[in-house]
């Protein structure tokens, strides 16, 4: 660690140009610093993006949606009046992260790129994620692990904001080492351990997240982020759900957190249409539909020895959240 270099980037272009192998992006540091201290990552250079002019900007309009710089702090997103009014699911998800002290430092880009919270990995026990040959959690303490999309690593993705952004169909703007820019949907930004084990995103070497854009399509539409934790004070999600309604077709986009190695978007085509007629909503039909949707959503989920509770929890959370729109 004594040979660690540090560079304060003045633009994303410059930062991406410095991301040779062995270099790591440093934003707030709330995830990277403990990994660094525990020797779980061993970069030779830290490229600090927190002082890049405009990197923390947040601009929100009904017409244009939200444009959020990668270095925007979660506190500032959660408190931003435009985000709260037009994208309340995102504001709620940001507010639900950790504690005030963490949200005051943690950035949105860092939150989306944070590493798994699996206890085995963080304790330095050899496993697939740290370059080892097995998953000790799979046969050990598995109650926090994935019920969807797991294997060979089963650690769930810890981000709350990613779940809300996935339901909001957010786009990620990525700067490459050669200075060019590419855009991807948040859905395509994440991958599964069966695709790639060394990281959770499809960011390639020399790529850096510059901006997150939320399309105007869902600005002001009915939406909600709900999170279940083991204790009330603060915690990572056992299960979370973001529900965002499409205004025109009145169908929900539903994303789940805490259940899979990536934020998990439900395939809307597999869900039944909500029972809305010209005369309004029949609360009983709505409740039956919510129960059916929850069942459909968890189809294909699989429990390990002691994480089966997450399946019931996720179903109940989906049902409960959808019931909020039982009456108009």
């Amino acid at each position: 660690m004594d040979s660690l270099g540090f560079h304060r980037a003045s633009s994303f272009e410059e930062a991406a140009g410095l991301l040779h192998s062995g270099a790591a992006v440093l934003a707030g540091g709330t995830d990277l610093v403990p990994l660094l201290k525990d020797g779980l990552v061993k970069p030779s250079l830290l490229v600090f993006i927190g002082d890049i002019p405009g990197a923390a900007s947040i601009s929100v309009t009904r017409r244009g949606g939200a444009r959020i710089g990668a270095a925007a702090k979660l506190t500032d997103i959660a408190n931003n009046p435009g985000v709260r009014r037009l994208f309340p699911a995102l504001a709620e998800a940001c507010r639900s992260v950790g504690t005030l002290q963490i949200r005051n430092v943690a950035t949105l880009g860092g939150n989306l790129c944070q590493r798994p919270r699996c206890w085995y990995y963080r304790s330095g026990i050899a496993c697939f994620k740290s370059g080892g040959e097995s998953c000790p959690a799979r046969d050990g303490l598995d109650e926090a692990l994935a019920i969807l999309g797991g294997g060979p690593c089963w650690a769930v993705h810890p981000s709350d904001p990613a779940v809300a952004l996935l339901a909001l169909d957010a786009k990620i703007t990525i700067r490459r080492a050669d200075g060019s820019v590419r855009e991807t949907s948040l859905a395509d930004f994440y991958c599964l351990p069966s695709d790639r084990l060394d990281r959770e995103t499809r960011l390639d070497a020399g790529e850096i997240v510059e901006r997150i854009t939320v399309p105007a399509r869902y600005a002001g539409s009915p939406q909600r982020y709900a999170k279940v934790t083991q204790r009330a004070a603060w915690d990572f999600a056992l299960v979370s759900a973001a529900v965002v309604w499409e205004k025109r077709r009145f169908r929900p986009r539903i994303a789940l957190g805490g259940v899979a190695p990536r934020p998990w978007l439900l395939d809307t085509a597999r869900l039944s249409d909500p029972p809305v007629s010209r005369r309004g909503r029949d609360p009983t039909a709505w409740e039956l539909w919510a129960i059916r949707t929850a069942e459909q959503a968890l189809r294909g989920s699989r429990a390990l020895s002691s994480n089966g509770y997450k399946i019931e929890l996720a179903k109940n959370l989906i049902r409960r959240t959808l019931l909020e729109w039982r009456r108009v």
């Binding site: 660690l4 270099g5 540090f6 410059e14 201290k37 005030l100 005051n104």
Partner: protein, 178 residues
């Protein structure tokens, strides 16, 4: 054009600590907590879990409570840091410190510096917090001794003093009598 990275070794930064300009040089892997305690001799900020879970390392960065164990020292360049050493004015304690002492809201005292600063930031943005506001503002600070009730009462008492009210602590808080 990308500038060349600074060579590995020491980072040299200027910042403001408790109202005084400070220059300090240290290896870039050091946290703000380590820089404050080891390089600047300010040991009032306590060293707990180093994982972001206990809150005892809380300091104010540009007035906002942050965990100094998770912030690298280099990230504090050009910014204002306030530690518990900066709360008293000369011999005169900050009202929060006085209320904590009067009400026994500090027992072993290990959590106290972090809680005082988190509470100071709360009262700065909300001079009349409800009990719930206080609980939320202090949710990131663990205390193994007090059971929190005396801490909440001390924050409420200090808030009243800072609003200029002539508040006295309830007898129950001091003597255990109703």
């Amino acid at each position: 054009m990308a500038r060349r990275a600074e060579p590995p070794g020491h980072a040299h930064i200027s910042l403001e600590v408790n109202g005084e300009p400070v220059e300090v040089s240290f290896p870039p892997h050091k946290t703000l907590l380590e820089v404050l305690r080891e390089d600047l001799g300010l040991t009032g900020t306590k060293h707990g879990c180093e994982l972001g879970e206990c809150g005892t390392c809380t300091v104010l960065l540009d007035g906002q409570p942050v965990l100094s164990c998770l912030v690298l020292g280099v990230a504090a360049a050009g910014r204002k840091v306030k530690t518990v050493e900066g709360m008293a004015r000369g011999p005169e304690l900050h009202p929060l410190q006085r209320a904590f002492a009067d009400l026994g809201a500090a027992q072993c005292g290990y959590c106290t510096p972090g809680i005082l600063l988190a509470a100071e930031a709360l009262l700065e943005r909300n001079p009349r917090p409800t009990r719930q506001d206080i609980k939320e503002a202090l949710a990131g600070n663990l205390c193994r001794c007090t059971g929190y009730i005396k801490i909440y009462e001390a924050v409420e008492l200090a808030a009243a003093w800072m609003r200029g009210e002539d508040a006295a602590p309830p007898e129950e808080s001091i003597y255990g009598r109703r």
